[in-house]
């Protein structure tokens, strides 16, 4: 079937047949998981539209921006400071890496026991399936885990890769390292875009990204209501889309959705009955279209009320201080804000335990499901500490380890249903 975007995809050198197949599967998957929900709000239509045009209109926008001389910078991690890219008049897109397509190709250059997320971004590139990767003038990697760190060395053979070093502890010397990395990144962005970053533009960019964080914080606060006004699937989708949609438009649209949600909350209406068990997700990020576990959970009689994850609160909890005068002040504010990220790549990372417990309490969670991607050592090991912290707070936790394949869905259902029976 031909589409109005075929010529654009061809120009981006996508494998057109395989790509059409991918979009078809994605469309069906979305239909089954999202469109089957009842009582969704009007504001979600925007998200449905954005997702239906994920490889279409949004890519067109990126091409138009490029034609105007703007640069597109792709990222895989919440550590990459978008403020710097925006201040240089660039466009930043989070590359998703949430599907199994391309796995065979990835396994030709990576060990099989590599996490699904890494295999996915390498696979998408090798199979020429992702128009975002193909639109990027620079792809920014980072050293959050050994798997990613080493995979970028291989990925660099196929894409313009730049790697940021992420510290592993939070001492003064680690902050120095991170500050040096932020400055090195600023230089790189200036070189790629040909623009100098000045204080006024950087301040504006900080405000813009803070505004997006604030609207997502507002969304999360509304989910503390009982009954909860929005499904976890929809909230996850909003967080996922925040990584690649135009930030100004996104913030405005989600603001409208929040207004609508607020009305629901004020009139005591929810997406599910009040007594539905409320579960919180914690752990590895779930990138588009990895909706497997949320779907299993929400078809087992529970509702998800929060995501303690990079595609969730880890990305939006902290704001950058906007008050700095000089460029140096603003850059320091960025350095400090990003150092607060509680990624499992840090040791001892006790702040993550505190954040999980207080988030579960604020959202009135009946239980927490810890989600780890197979072969993701940092989160797998930290799951034991998370369980201990939650146990001390008298909050039950179920630990799930899985990947993007569908082969374990039945076993997952049994465990999730049993957990729901347990917390009910």
């Amino acid at each position: 079937m031909s589409t109005p975007h075929d010529a654009m995809w061809e120009k981006l050198n996508l494998d057109l047949d395989a790509h059409a197949g991918l979009l078809q599967v994605l469309g069906k998957f979305y239909g089954d998981i999202y469109m089957s929900q009842t009582g969704r709000l009007k504001g979600m239509e925007y998200l449905d539209f954005v997702l239906s045009e994920v490889h279409g209109l949004r890519i067109k926008e990126l091409q138009d921006a490029k034609a105007q001389g703007k640069k597109v910078i792709g990222t895989f991690c919440v550590f990459v400071p978008e403020e710097i890219v925006l201040a240089a008049d660039g466009v930043q897109v989070g590359l998703c890496a949430g599907a199994e397509a391309g796995k065979d190709a990835a396994e030709k250059v990576l060990p099989r026991n590599t996490c699904a997320l890494i295999k996915s971004f390498v696979g998408f590139k090798l199979s020429r399936l992702c128009p975002f990767i193909e639109s990027c003038d620079l792809v920014v990697g980072e050293t959050t885990c050994d798997g990613k760190k080493k995979a970028y060395e291989i990925f660099a053979d196929y894409a313009p890769v730049y790697v940021m070093e992420i510290p592993q502890m939070k001492n003064a010397c680690d902050r120095e390292l991170w500050r040096a990395e932020v400055l090195r990144f600023k230089d790189k962005v200036e070189e790629v875009t040909g623009k100098s970053i000045m204080a006024p533009r950087l301040r504006e960019a900080i405000r813009l990204v803070n505004d997006r964080r604030k609207v997502l914080q507002r969304l999360n606060r509304l989910r503390a209501a009982s009954p909860v006004p929005i499904s976890g699937r929809d909230a996850l989708l909003i967080n996922q889309i925040s990584f690649y949609d135009d930030p100004v438009r996104f913030t405005e649209k989600i603001g409208h959705l929040c207004d609508e949600l607020e009305e629901q909350v004020n009139s005591g209406k929810g997406i599910v009955p009040k007594e539905t068990p409320r579960l919180m997700l914690s752990g590895c990020p779930m990138a588009v279209p990895n909706w497997k576990l949320p779907y299993v959970i929400e078809s087992s009689g529970a509702v998800i009320i929060g995501e303690e994850s990079c595609i969730g609160t880890r990305n939006i909890r902290d704001l950058v201080d906007e008050s700095g005068e000089s460029l140096d002040d603003l850059l320091n504010a960025i350095v400090d804000r990003y150092m607060r990220i509680d990624c499992a790549c840090f040791t001892p990372n006790m702040e993550r335990m505190d954040n999980i417990v207080s988030m579960a309490r604020d959202l009135k969670a009946d239980g927490v499901i810890h989600y780890g991607l197979s072969f993701c050592q940092p989160y797998a090991i930290e799951a034991f500490k998370v369980e201990k912290a939650l146990k001390a707070a008298d909050i039950p936790m179920l630990s799930i380890e899985t990947d993007y394949s569908m082969e374990d869905v039945e076993q997952l259902k049994t465990r999730v249903e049993a957990f729901v029976e347990m917390v009910r």
Binding site: E401, Q411, M422
Partner: protein
């Protein structure tokens, strides 16, 4: 006469049906193999009884609920079914171990009988009934007497692999070295027991422990677990019926903590 309440446990290897009426012992209980057509087996079983309400559990619970649209069917997970059944048979139980055809479950019960925590094996069937079945076939011993056979060993050898395929090649190389078949059988049983004990430790096992599920029939697994834990296990008379019994009890409104 009160209304009959049925509990049906549709497992990977067998299907069990228990029918309760009032507070007495089951008025009917039966076990059949699952076969390649579990629905036909369920239909046959249900055709022999009349029940006002059915509670289905096991991996085929959804399949059953979809087929039995004309009946009043509720579904619960095996975890809850085994917790309820074991607690009913042994009110003092604090931990339940169920080794079934393709999965192993360990359930820790709170003092009020509610599920406090549980562990299940992942997607692969290592260390389950299927493993024993496969190995019994490899050693050409009937599954029913495999435990007895292993107890005829004169030394304990270690089988390191828990994967069914790898364990078989390990057993084959032991055979090629002239190792006595009974000793290999014992090694295979010990491998299951070690894995089970690790799961028990993960949930923070407390005594007494109920051992249920089809593998509880195996005398060697029972004996070695008791030996390693240095305590007596509580084993139901019909260990594979516990899930179906728990399901039927759920149907009676006997929820955990309200007994």
């Amino acid at each position: 006469m009160k209304e009959n309440i049925a509990g049906i446990d549709i497992g990977s290897r067998s299907i069990e049906l228990v029918v309760l009426n009032g507070c007495g012992p089951p008025v009917h209980q039966v076990k059949v193999p699952t076969t390649f057509d579990p629905l036909a087996q369920c239909r046959r079983l249900m055709g022999e009884v009349s029940a006002g309400r059915v509670v289905a559990t096991g991996y085929g619970r959804k399949l059953f609920a979809d087929f039995a649209e004309d009946m009043d069917v509720t579904t619960i997970t095996e975890i809850q079914a085994y917790a309820l059944g074991a607690r009913f048979l042994f009110p003092e139980a604090r931990t339940v171990l169920d080794i079934g055809g393709q999965d192993t479950k360990v359930i820790s019960l709170l003092t009020n009988g509610k599920v406090g925590k549980f562990e299940m094996n992942d997607r692969c069937a290592a260390g389950t009934g299927k493993f024993l079945e496969f190995m019994a076939t490899a050693l050409q011993v009937p599954l029913e007497s495999f435990g007895e056979y292993a107890l005829g060993s004169d030394k304990r050898i270690q089988i390191n692999s828990m994967c069914t395929v790898f364990a078989e090649s390990e057993a084959t190389s032991l055979m090629a070295r002239g190792e006595k078949a009974e000793n290999i059988a014992m090694g295979l049983h010990l491998a299951i027991v070690q894995r089970t004990l690790a799961m028990l430790r993960r949930v923070g096992m407390e005594s007494p422990l109920v051992f249920a599920g089809g593998v509880a029939h195996n005398v060697c697994v029972r004996k070695t677990i008791e030996e390693q834990l240095e305590e007596k296990l509580l084993i139901p008379e019909n260990p594979d019926m516990v899930g179906a019994l728990g399901a039927a009890l759920y149907g009676k409104g006997l929820q955990p903590g309200t007994q």
